[in-house]
């Protein structure tokens, strides 16, 4: 029983860390596309 609980906790911990990593990557991509859009607009950003 204790082993099962430990495995369950380990599984949830691994899944949580993976989810944080995916969230981090997605946020980074949002920031990247935003910055690159501004860069590409360049001097025309206020047009």
């Amino acid at each position: 029983m204790n082993d099962d609980n430990e495995r369950q906790r380990e599984f949830e911990r691994a899944r949580k860390m993976r989810n944080y990593a995916i969230a981090g990557v997605l946020l980074f991509l949002v920031a990247l596309f935003f910055v690159m859009t501004i860069v590409r607009l360049g001097g025309h950003v206020a047009d």
Partner: protein
Amino acid sequence: MTVAAENRESVVAVTGEFATVSDYFALLKPRVMSLVVFTAVVGLALAPGHIPIATAVTALLCIAVGAGASGALNMAYDADIDSCMSRTLGRPIPQGHLTASTATGFGVTMAIGAVTVMGLLVNPVSAALLAFTIAFYVLVYTLWLKRRTPQNIVIGGLAGALPPAIGWSAVTGSLAVPPLVLVAIIFLWTPAHFWALSLYRTSDYVRARIPMLPVVAGKTKTRRQIVIYTILTVTAGFAPVLLGFAGPLYLAVNVALGTWFLVQSLRVARECDSEREPQARRLFGISILYLFVVFAAVLAEQVSGITPFQPLIAG
């Protein structure tokens, strides 16, 4: 059933539900990725014209992710081989932390993502080159050549050689002679580098039934080929000087390290201890140092503004 085939069955049987972020990171082959990114930086720095810093960082990020995707797809397909070899036994799939299908999904997603972002945010030429590089590494090297011919790493080496061209095209949107010379240097360097490794890991390759040159043609022929490819690499290393895009610092580095690289390859050729292969182990390290320092010299000359020699050959 071969050892590799039995391993493939046991490898795909694991669930992979306990995979950590570091397991996914290990799939990217971070050490290979670092050399890929470094050589791409050199191509990028060498290219004429201006590139916004954000675009340059994006391009390098895409190259890094593309290299990582190639690594993940290679590990997914070669899980059976990896579990036979002591050097690769600790990778996430043979360890049962991840399934091959999960690694495949991860690799494909990253490959598509890297090429798409490169195409949208940098330019189509660099995206096409990145796509070609990933496809060549996965389809031509991993799926086709690796298990079939001792020329696997010679031809397959093209994938690892292309990053300077991708870096250059990220700036210019085209290709030219200088990045192709850098590609040629890495391409010619690859066989000596990997055959040095295969000399002291021969039993691994025999067990995994990979037809590396020492397995198929013997160690004597491999030693001879290492010397030939080292001569070709160091000779090609003079091309940037002759073509007028490298200067005195680069020349000095290529002469000094090229001589060391060549002398060490000759020591490998005369090796008596074919069990432990100490000279091949040393050559493996020196080959990495040679490539790194020679490319660092190109970068240093660009950054510090050292004037290249006048071209002796029209590029």
